[in-house]
């Protein structure tokens, strides 16, 4: 049972992370992952890039707290959460969440829970570069509403 949290400008490789989650781990049949990337369209606007600001002293703490909350709700084993910061381009990786468990239901639920709380609690802010200029993204009420259902 271990948690890896990384917040940095460095890219990640989802396949490598899955391999690490599975290494020396014959107890867990299930690995669920989420990979989030910079996409072209956001609310109808053409996105060309993204700047990710964060609160360095707090981000890793916040992510670890979210993982601990997931561990209190489900039986999960290894967890990795990676979040990039700084300047990102279209198609670049932003975030990776991976969870292993003996049972798929717990792995799915925990991975989605971690993403949902990351969206409303972890101190990251996105500034989009759009064809019509730079804009800070507004938080979505739907993200608040979704997290509350857990």
């Amino acid at each position: 049972m271990d948690t890896k949290v990384r917040v940095s400008e460095a890219d990640f490789n989802a396949g490598d992370e899955i391999a690490l989650l599975q290494a020396n781990n014959q107890a867990d049949g299930a690995v669920v992952t989420f990979t989030g990337r910079v996409r072209k369209q956001n609310e109808g606007q053409q996105v060309t890039g993204l700047f990710l600001e964060h609160y360095p002293a707090m981000t890793a703490l916040s992510l670890n707290r979210i993982v601990d909350s997931a561990r209190a709700k489900w039986v999960i084993n290894k967890v990795v959460v990676i979040h990039r910061v700084g300047q990102l381009n279209l198609g670049d990786n932003i975030v990776f969440v991976g969870v292993t468990s003996a049972h798929r239901g717990d792995a799915f639920a925990a991975a989605e829970f971690i993403m949902d709380y990351l969206k409303i609690e972890a101190p990251f802010w996105k500034k989009e570069t759009r064809t019509d200029g730079e804009v800070w993204i507004d938080a979505r009420q739907s993200d608040q509403d979704k997290a509350i259902t857990w």
Partner: protein
């Protein structure tokens, strides 16, 4: 002395990354906001938003939380990571 940090849109609106503030005992996060607006009248509008979140020593807190000298208090807009 209280260290106050600002992030993202709020940081840009205030034109400040951080400020130091002298506080009296039993000051709440809400009162810190009032004190900041008194010292910087132009900050009234950005700091009055209902959306401003606060983290005290890297933990999200409500605005009635009491702060102490030496604390790190951060104000920021709703988060948009992930």
């Amino acid at each position: 002395m209280l260290t106050i940090l600002f992030f993202a849109r709020l940081r840009e609106q205030l034109g400040q990354t951080s400020v130091q503030l002298t506080i009296t005992e039993n000051t709440t996060v809400e009162q810190v906001l009032t004190q900041l607006i008194e010292e910087h009248p132009s900050w009234q509008s950005p700091l009055s938003s209902n959306n401003i979140l606060a983290a005290l020593n890297q933990q999200m807190v409500s605005k009635d939380t009491v702060v102490s000298a030496g604390d790190e208090l951060a104000f920021f807009p709703p988060v948009t990571g992930g």
